[in-house]
């Protein structure tokens, strides 16, 4: 086999003959459409790919992919397939279809078709070689196109989600005259930490805040960089004349802060948000009292 391959590589068939071969190939694939399609769908189910989709859905998508595939072999233009791959990705990504599944099914189709070519030309070895020479580059290009289309779509979705998260980010809220709270939820990466600090410092200036309560109950852990950033935020707030109270430190974060050697004299911490707000009210001279007769509605 190797020697034969080497010979064909040294003497590739001329361009016209590739076109002729592809035409013949396309005719063969059109003729056996039903059978090959079924074979392919069966192999997909067997390989346990696209488990998020029903058998009928797989068959319907397989038909479209098959037709697109044959068309690309015929015309050599991948634009329609690209558009289809993007469209398909848009539909199946939300259902949890993974990249390896998409690449897997396209490779399966390539194999199914190659097998049928082997079966058809098994008597004429030279012809088979020529057909495969024409088929393989085209098939690989198709596999490439579909995989790239899928990955690009995924990346687009990820970018979109990142933007959404950034916009949600974190509000700086005024709960009383001169008292701000900053509830932080989720993972803090350096970019978000920086954004938080900017928002907070600007909030202190615009609201003329004296006390800020930063609540990090919703933050499970932070690395030493972000912990350092938190300490810097506290110090920068002091330069603006505001006192920061940090509340809701998890044991892990407490550990991180101790490990980086934070000066506890600078950090004012209270167990939970309620305690933090009470402490802030004390600093500001507020006294919250329950009126004796509470309204009946409660």
């Amino acid at each position: 086999m190797n020697t034969v391959n080497a010979k064909t590589v040294t003497a590739p068939p001329p361009a016209e003959s590739i076109a002729t071969l592809l035409r013949e190939l396309v005719a063969h694939l059109r003729q056996n459409r039903t059978q090959l399609r079924e074979e392919w769908a069966r192999r997909i189910t067997e390989a346990k790919l696209l488990t998020a989709m029903s058998r009928e859905e797989i068959f319907a998508e397989a038909t479209s992919v098959y037709d697109n595939y044959v068309e690309v072999l015929e015309t050599g233009a991948v634009e329609a397939l690209q558009a289809y791959a993007r469209n398909l990705s848009e539909r199946i990504i939300p259902r949890g279809v993974e990249t390896d599944e998409v690449v897997g099914i396209v490779l399966l189709l390539r194999d199914v078709l190659a097998r049928s070519l082997f079966a058809k030309y098994q008597t004429d070895f030279k012809k088979l070689n020529n057909i495969l020479d024409a088929y393989e580059p085209a098939a690989n290009r198709i596999a490439n196109t579909v995989a790239v289309g899928f990955v690009q779509e995924r990346e687009r979705v990820i970018r979109q989600q990142q933007e959404a998260i950034r916009e949600l980010s974190t509000p700086v809220l005024q709960v009383r005259e001169r008292l701000l709270i900053l509830p932080i939820i989720g993972v803090i990466d350096p970019l978000r930490a920086r954004q938080l600090t900017e928002q907070l410092l600007r909030g202190i200036r615009t609201n003329r805040a004296k006390v800020v309560v930063i609540d990090i109950t919703g933050v499970a852990a932070m690395d030493s960089n972000v912990a350092n950033h938190l300490v810097q935020t506290v110090e920068a707030s002091r330069l603006l004349g505001a006192t920061v109270i940090v509340t809701g430190l998890s044991p892990e974060i407490a550990n991180t802060l101790v490990t980086i050697g934070v000066d506890l004299g600078k950090m004012n911490t209270v167990g939970d948000l309620q305690g933090g707000i009470e402490e802030a009210e004390r600093l500001l001279g507020y006294k919250v009292a329950q009126i004796e007769q509470a309204p009946q509605q409660i």
């Binding site: 600090t197 900017e198 410092l201 600007r202 202190i204 200036r205 003329r208 810097q232 935020t233 110090e235 920068a236 707030s237 002091r238 330069l239 603006l240 004349g241 505001a242």
Partner: protein, 135 residues
């Protein structure tokens, strides 16, 4: 560029008008420390609202001013740090430890009022009142 020092009641107020050279900062320091004694001021406010940058020399000089004035028997408060300046300073490790800071001039005056009242109370001079402001 000279920094004007205004006398306001018992306080001295120095407002930066532009970026200062190192020599200007030292002149300001000497002037403030001298005038605190001359006017028997109880507090000094240094307003840095116009500054867009604060280098290590400036921040060390501010700290020196605060400490020297404390030794001369008065309080100092630095006011008007821009948010960006504050964060940049902290990142450079210039945290002005032990130096009181406030948001703006108004807050600085309030701070000094509180601080000097406590001091008068501690010194037992509150009952005599603050006396007539020097005119």
């Amino acid at each position: 560029m000279e920094v004007p020092i205004l006398k306001q009641g018992h306080y001295l107020i120095a407002t930066f008008q532009a970026e200062l050279s190192d020599a200007d900062l030292l002149r300001l320091r000497d002037a403030l420390v001298t005038q605190v004694g001359k006017f028997r001021s109880r507090g000094v406010i240094v307003d840095v609202t116009v500054l867009d940058v604060m280098d290590s020399f400036a921040s060390r000089t501010l700290r020196d001013i605060a400490h020297m004035i404390r030794l001369r028997g008065a309080e100092t408060v630095i006011v008007g740090f821009q948010p960006e300046v504050a964060f940049a300073m902290v990142q450079l490790g210039l945290t002005l430890e032990g130096v009181p800071t406030a948001l703006d001039l108004e807050e600085g005056l309030l701070y000094l009022d509180q601080k000097t009242k406590v001091r008068e109370y501690e010194l037992g001079t509150l009952s005599r009142g603050r006396g007539k402001p020097l005119s």
